[in-house]
Symmetry: C2
């Protein structure tokens, strides 16, 4: 039979150290840009693991990180799980209340904190019930003043380590390696626990030719934060495969991202649509050499067709749609054209690229419609359910698990269609679908149509209650600079009319300065719905 060697993360960092010691990590922190080889990163990672052990961190202990994308966070990504502890990345954009809840609920024993985030933790420290060590991720000279006693400097800890640490060889592949909390519609965030096995298999999926094809030949820039679903797993895959990494650090702008891509010859980058909308604006306004880019990976929410078109046709940058969620590590579906689709017209190809894509090898999916499994005809809607070895089986110690996890499947809450080729398209969130007169209206379809208008920067469509039709759509649009005051509601209706059945058209189009967004840049439809419902009732 085959060997029972476990799928654990130690092999990843060891491979980088042995086979790719010369490859580089470019890291931007508050102090500027630094460059490290994987040889150095691997050595520092061992020193961090040793330091954590000295501070009393044991196997299975949770260690929280509150940090941007930089080399120290990358070291924590491996030092914590490879020593048998659990890497708990904390979304720093959540409210202080939620951050306190998360740290206490996970029972974090130590926190690794960026200096600019430290004041936030300083303020709430008395409410943290389990944390025994606060490690500030900066040089010794950059330490913030503090009244917390058990504060350590990251670089000093590394200096004081002997450097003789070795990772344990007996980790279980099903042991927890990582953890991330995801916002809930109501109530506290819900925790997802990643296993070594899940992370190893998900990394392999990222490296596959028909998926993101992450390779030693790549220079990868994860714009998606490392505090959110492990930056989509890119740092794990990159280290394993010897891929060069460019980590953009705190408070970056579209300009900085464009500059980093140009200067570092980035080949693959990943982020949510709002990031790419921002970059597109920057590229429209200033000149950059983006020719190194082979793939802009986009997920988190649906990318508007117009944006994909602008990237591909105006700027010649290959754009790759993907779909996933915190509960799925996250890669589930990715838009890689099939060989015979390459022969289609550019408009037809764009239609395919505007869909989320096809299932990556290793997972299974089904689409649950009103009456059992929906047929794959590109029309019948249903909720996407997924299973596989990098899909969560429940939330960490949370009674709400039963809502999403049923019969061995994760019910995603996403309403989708799947076409004859197996390409999946997100139609809506189950809770954002507009139920009008017994039929379903997709808020996402209306949004995409609106965002294809040259004057519109962003658009979100939500439902308002309606006496006769149960619910009706209202569109909220943000105009681009230069178009404000010059575009009328009527013009937008004229634009929409040929594209939709009459009863799909929004009952009103509201001009706004901004669409409220979640901490990871998605439209915050719940808050928008409240605003719109208030505005609508005030208008009456």
């Amino acid at each position: 039979m085959m060997m029972q060697t476990p799928l654990t993360m130690t092999q990843m960092i060891r491979r980088a150290e042995k086979f790719f010691p010369k490859k580089e990590v470019v890291s931007r922190t508050g102090s500027g840009i630094q460059r490290f080889t994987y040889k150095t990163i691997a050595e520092r990672t061992k020193r961090l693991a040793e330091s954590l052990q000295k501070l009393g961190i044991k196997r299975g202990d949770k260690v929280g990180t509150l940090a941007w994308n930089h080399h120290r966070h990358l070291e924590a990504y491996f030092a914590i799980p490879c020593s048998g502890a659990v890497l708990h990345t904390i979304n720093i954009r959540l409210s202080p209340q939620h951050i306190i809840y998360i740290i206490n609920h996970a029972e974090d024993q130590a926190l690794l904190i960026d200096p600019d985030i430290f004041p936030l933790i300083e303020k709430v420290k008395d409410q943290l019930t389990t944390v025994k060590a606060f490690i500030v991720m900066c040089a010794e000279g950059e330490m913030p003043e503090t009244t917390i006693e058990s504060v350590y400097n990251y670089e000093r800890l590394l200096q004081e380590a002997s450097g003789n640490y070795e990772y344990p060889d007996d980790l279980d592949e099903n042991a927890p390696a990582g953890m991330c909390y995801t916002s809930a519609t109501t109530g506290n965030p819900k925790g997802v626990v990643y296993s070594h096995r899940g992370i190893v298999l998900h990394s392999m999926a990222l490296g596959m030719a028909d998926s993101a094809a992450v390779s030693e030949k790549d220079i990868a820039l994860p714009v998606v934060p490392m505090f959110h679903v492990n930056a989509w797993g890119l740092p794990f895959a990159a280290v394993w495969f010897g891929t060069s990494l460019v980590l953009p650090g705190p408070y970056f702008t579209p300009k900085l991202i464009a500059e980093l891509i140009e200067a570092e010859k980035v080949t693959i980058t990943a982020g949510v649509p709002t990031i790419w909308l921002g970059l597109l604006k920057e590229l429209d306004e200033n000149n950059y050499d983006m020719s190194s880019l082979r793939s802009v990976l986009c997920g988190g929410s649906a990318a508007p067709r117009g944006m994909i078109k602008a990237f591909e046709e105006k700027h010649g940058i290959p754009f790759m749609h993907a779909y996933g969620m915190t509960e799925t590590s996250p890669l589930v579906v990715i838009s890689s054209l099939k060989s015979y689709q390459e022969e289609l017209s550019s408009e037809e190809k764009l239609n395919i690229k505007a869909m989320q894509g096809i299932l990556v090898p290793g997972l299974e999916m089904k689409v649950v419609g009103k009456d059992g499994e929906a047929s794959w005809d590109g029309k019948e809607m249903g909720e996407l359910a997924i299973r596989g070895p990098w899909i969560a089986s429940g939330y960490y110690r949370d009674e709400r698990s039963d809502e999403a996890f049923r019969d061995g499947w994760l019910y995603t809450g996403d309403v989708v269609t799947v076409d004859e080729e197996g390409f999946m398209k997100i139609v809506d969130r189950t809770k954002d679908l507009i139920k009008s007169g017994g039929e379903w209206i997709s808020s996402v379809d209306l949004e995409n149509a609106l965002m294809a208008h040259e004057a519109i920067f962003e658009a979100a469509v939500v439902s308002v209650p309606h006496e006769e039709w149960q619910e009706r759509p209202i569109a909220c649009v943000v105009l681009k600079e230069g178009y404000k005051g010059t575009v009328t509601k009527e013009e937008l209706y004229t634009f929409l009319q040929p594209q939709f059945a009459k009863w799909w058209l929004p009952d009103d189009i509201l001009f706004m300065e901004e669409i409220p967004k979640t901490s990871v840049g998605k439209f915050l439809k719940m808050r928008l719905r409240d605003q719109v419902r208030t505005m609508s009732s005030e208008l009456k």
Copy 2:
């Protein structure tokens, strides 16, 4: 935590059926070339699984195949393991005695046999102790005459199946899925059992961008036989990823391979060096359009540098060296240049490509020299040891397991060096190394040097006993047509002298008509050694 969904092969054929029903399998059998879609292959595969069930095949039962590379063998590749039985591919080039041993040792309950191989089984049927059903893989009209009672026609079985079969959903990922016996230096062949988990992970490794990068966009031609280490796992990966397959059938010639590559626009092909030597000769003599090829994968034994050079520089065909063995599923090491090596001169790149390559993600390796682990300096020799989830942990019910499997590692019997970049080079088999005066001489290095000579078609170097030096090398060379009788021993010595230390030079160079080979095309050094020792002693 993550779902405990098992890594089983059923997901592979299901993915082909759901996502790639239009993709094609081109199959050459004794009756000619046929084309099938994956939709048809998937349906026929289920029918075969149902038929085997009806014939009494249960979970864990071994089902042997004696067949060439064609669509029916591909169907067996999935029908057998996906129904819970074990696909036992039998090397038809072994001696009848070994084939009988293998079938009885594995306790095969049924055999799937190609019509041209059937006479061989007919002859030995009385010595087969466990086989209850003999299925001949041909159309109904092509059935051979036979006196065996329990003979079935493959196509008739499929016709008679209801078509309502579903694969079981509860297979264990560690359950046996496949089996292959490998020749031993002495005694009976040794059996290796592949698990579902091993095959799934190995397939992922084949799909990774820095490995073979098997993709939906590929048209793959496995020349390596499906009766030998699962045709290096290519059929499994191809079906999973929706890759088009071209299966070359029985008794193919270099001309047929060249014609198939041209006609089917093959992008990736895989085989042993002797196959590629044959193809090279064909390409030198006749014109073919080989421009579709993105990779000629070569393993089984070391490819001579001159051959790689001829493929790459003379014919513009990218050549990819790899290393593995029956015990390793087989992919272990593959020669994919690192990004910064692309800038080297073409001669330097050729030197790298002549090495076997670097370890694929998912495995671990060490090189055990005379005094512990050998250093990675490109010079220090040691035996390669490997571990990982697609590496065997022992031979099937075989006392010889302890020789190769020790302390959780597979000791490969291959002597290698590893350079600073982690590129591994096979120096020799431990048993083929020539031990001369306390030093080691690599037979492989001498062979490669000889095969770079324009007049030489093949060369093998073996040791003869020597009173003073313990062992000394003797070279055996086969000249190309047109050079026979025109090249002298002295010319070859003159050619070798500048490349080696004097004591490395062979004591004699013998001209031969042919080098004896194993059933899979490797030099049969043991037999050659006997021949040479006889010849040497006769000369004295």
